[in-house]
């Protein structure tokens, strides 16, 4: 059976995040370039480059996503978030020209996730960012499908290294479907194998239990 022993919580795609999903927790660690809009008193030690006691207004810092999301508010202007360069105009034209060429893993392994989260910070470019993210996904879909469904029993690391995290999970699903079918065709589907969770257990001998 293909049911796993435990089902990990999947990441929330789009503008929500799943609280319990490990992928989303890692995503929220991504740094965004931000600019403080007011003084943060007595937090100077956080910003290592300046030696002042408080963080003055207008400092440019890199904040992780979870912090920026928490501090961002339309009414009380505490921080303002700038877009990382891959979501800006220059890179957007590259993506619209040919999405298949870009190494999405190097550009921040969470391109789609971070792109969707950026839409929380209102900015006039939001619709274009959303559109670019969607078009990139559509453009790369064909290649992911072809490579995941045709690489049986080969080393897939060359195919996977340019994909971002979302695409990698899709690739794994495609591979799983293919591998299941091939296993069935070879007749290995009805062979009983030890579960991979217990393969490392060694048999305990009775005298060991007593000690």
């Amino acid at each position: 059976m293909t049911t796993q022993s435990y089902l990990p919580v999947p990441p929330g795609v789009g503008m929500e995040e799943n609280f319990l999903s490990l992928d989303d927790i890692l995503l929220s660690q991504e740094k965004l370039p931000t600019r403080t809009e007011c003084v943060f008193p007595r937090l100077g030690f956080v910003e290592k480059t300046s030696d002042t006691r408080d963080i003055p207004e207008g400092t440019k810092m890199e904040m992780p996503l979870w912090l920026s999301k928490g501090l961002y508010d339309n009414k009380r202007r505490l921080v303002s978030v700038e877009q990382p360069k891959i979501y800006r105009q220059g890179w957007r034209t590259v993506f619209s020209a040919d999405p298949n060429v870009v190494d999405l893993h190097k550009m921040g392994p969470y391109y789609y996730g971070l792109g969707s989260q950026l839409l929380h910070f209102d900015s006039p470019e939001n619709p274009e960012i959303a559109q670019t993210v969607l078009q990139t996904y559509i453009g790369r879909f064909r290649r992911i499908m072809d490579s995941s469904q045709n690489a049986y029993n080969e080393d897939t690391s060359a195919l996977v290294e340019r994909l971002d995290v979302l695409e990698r999970s899709l690739f794994r699903t495609g591979q799983a479907g293919l591998n299941d079918f091939q296993r069935w065709e070879k007749g290995q589907a009805s062979q009983i194998t030890a579960s991979n969770l217990v393969q490392n257990y060694k048999k305990r001998k009775f005298p060991d239990l007593e000690a």
């Binding site: 059976m1 293909t2 795609v13 789009g14 503008m15 929500e16 928490g70 508010d73 789609y112 969707s116 839409l119 929380h120 939001n126 619709p127 959303a130 559109q131 993210v133 969607l134 996904y137 559509i138 453009g139 879909f141 064909r142 992911i144 499908m145 072809d146 995941s148 469904q149 979302l166 999970s169 899709l170 699903t173 495609g174 799983a176 479907g177 293919l178 299941d180 079918f181 296993r183 069935w184 065709e185 007749g187 589907a189 009805s190």
Partner: protein
């Protein structure tokens, strides 16, 4: 679904055998299996046929579509058409595997048949992928494909539904003016 589950469903199909033993009619929950007389052909479900064959109690007669010329015709038609052609049996892949593994001595030209079925399968899967790709690239809301078998749907199913889910969620990003979810007021 698992391929093994699809195979289990395929084993309900009927196939003709020639038993070499005799037995009265047996009454099973799924239906009656009519009296077995040595040398007289009788229709039984595949699971029973395979079992009897393994115990050397019968000879399996291949279904009429499992024939080299017929399969060649089907393969050629599949290659010409852009849509899926109706195939003689909705479980052709599973039946081929089961019958050719257990009863290849009763089936003439077994290897050729295996190759022909594999070719037809490859063509159909390629068409399925093409169709999935055009579905995604044109962002259609729904699509309709006729004459697909369960095994083909099962192989590509999870991948397709996952990728369409992702695409849908990315598409809802485009709509402005929706609630931004939870926010905390201090």
């Amino acid at each position: 679904m698992d391929p093994s589950e699809v195979e289990f469903l395929a084993e309900k199909e009927m196939v003709t055998i020639v038993p070499n033993f005799s037995l009265d009619k047996i009454y099973l929950i799924g239906g009656d299996l009519g009296p077995f007389n040595p040398g007289l052909p009788v229709a039984v479900p595949v699971w029973l046929a395979i079992n009897l064959k393994q115990r050397q109690k019968c000879r399996i007669i291949p279904p009429e579509w499992m024939d080299v010329e017929k399969l060649e015709e089907i393969r050629e038609q599949e290659r010409k058409e852009e849509t899926f052609t109706p195939i003689p049996n909705p479980y052709y892949m599973e039946l081929t595997k089961l019958l050719l593994n257990h009863a290849s001595d009763n089936i003439p030209k077994a290897d050729e048949i295996r190759t022909l079925v594999k070719d037809t399968w490859d063509t159909r899967i390629a068409k399925l992928r093409l169709s999935a790709d055009s579905f995604v690239s044109q962002q259609e809301a729904h699509a309709r494909l006729d004459n697909l078998t369960l095994m083909e749907i099962n192989t590509i199913g999870t991948f397709l539904t996952d990728s369409l889910n992702h695409m849908y969620k990315l598409r809802t990003n485009l709509q402005p003016g929706k609630e931004t979810g939870k926010s905390q007021d201090f």
